[in-house]
Amino acid sequence: MTAEPRASARSAALEATRRENARLFVIFRDPDASAAERDTARDALVRLHLALVDHCARRFRNRGEPFEDLVQVGTIGLIKAVDRFDTERGVEFSTYATPTIIGEIKRYFRDKGWAIRVPRRLQELRMQISSATAELTQSLGRSPTPREIAEKIGCSVEEIIEALESSNAYATLSLDATDDSDDGSQSMLDAIGIDDAALEQVEIRESVKPLLEGLPAREKKILLLRFFKNMTQSQIAEEIGVSQMHVSRLLTRTLEQLRTSLESD
């Protein structure tokens, strides 16, 4: 008997939240409202939906990051969702905001992972070592020495030692990923996974392609100049005829858009 009034109380609360949400968005999006009024509405909107962040962050507990940090990061996602929400589209705000919040938390995990990764230079060297080792093992009929690998790649023995050391560190890290069954002599190098990196690239490239095509011509050109022709922002600014600051802003915004679209897929 108690279930029914409780359920109706909950739906009443939900309805109230919904109404409040709609009211606040009207103020927030009202071009005639003052900046202060809109700011207040924005704050209220964020506060109104904080429980949603809590709910999303809870799903990522016990993954080695403090819950409070996840709530912080998720709140950033919520703020972004409030800023971007299109009231015309007829979807619930929570439906729209949830992927944004989760995307933000996921990105936090990903970026945290980056911080402890081996520098790119060593990652690349390790891949070179891995393929040079395979080739030399074939041609010599035995495992090569670091000196032979160094000569093949054209770097110093020191660098080879450093890279081999880093691959051991890499393996230690991946113990977290329950990948601890390797004890063969080649396993450390094998574990580098050239294929994996390339595969990841393919996937990213394929999913980015349609998004790139959807970009405005100027944004597309900037991305191209920056990442394919490797021009500096200043050079791009000169080429296009805008300030470097503007190029920087456009780049940041475009990348942000791409990232958001990729994550929402």
Binding site: T133, R142, S143, P144, T145, P146, R147, I149, V157, I160, I161, L164, E165, N168, D183, S185, Q186, M188, L189
Partner: protein
């Protein structure tokens, strides 16, 4: 480069707290030295395992607060390592243990010495280039 100026032999000595946390330092140093002595990648990986086993055996017997002293003998194509620690009452070496099996398989020579007051493991390994 050690190999370019190598005479009859040269020595490297490392003193560490007798604590498993430092085993990685010992492994890294061993790998670095072996690379300079023209050991192959496979040899170096074997050495890393052998050194870990040797260190584990010695650490088990170490007195509280003791040091682990590691002496490397470096010769062309050959690396010797002596790991020793102070041990008031070392247990007699267990030649049936898994660790010992690993050690004798991976090295060209392995010796344990347990005397009142100290516990020592000595290993030697030749580069597989040298064995050919």
């Amino acid at each position: 480069m050690i190999t370019s100026g190598v005479g009859a032999r040269s020595d490297v000595e490392l003193r560490l707290p007798a604590d498993g946390a430092y085993a990685a330092v010992l492994r890294t140093l061993t790998a670095g030295l072996a690379a300079r002595l023209d050991f192959t990648i496979d040899d170096i990986e074997d050495l890393r395992i052998a050194v870990s086993e040797a260190a584990a055996m010695v650490l088990d017997e170490a007195d509280p607060g003791a040091d682990l002293v590691c002496r490397f003998r470096l010769m062309p194509g050959e690396l010797g390592l002596e790991c020793t620690t102070t041990s008031a009452a070392p247990s007699t070496p267990d030649y049936d243990s898994f660790g010992w099996q690993v050690l004798t398989t991976l090295t060209t020579e392995a010796v344990v010495e347990a005397t009142p007051g100290s516990y020592t493991v000595r290993i030697a390994m030749r580069s597989s280039l040298d064995l050919q």
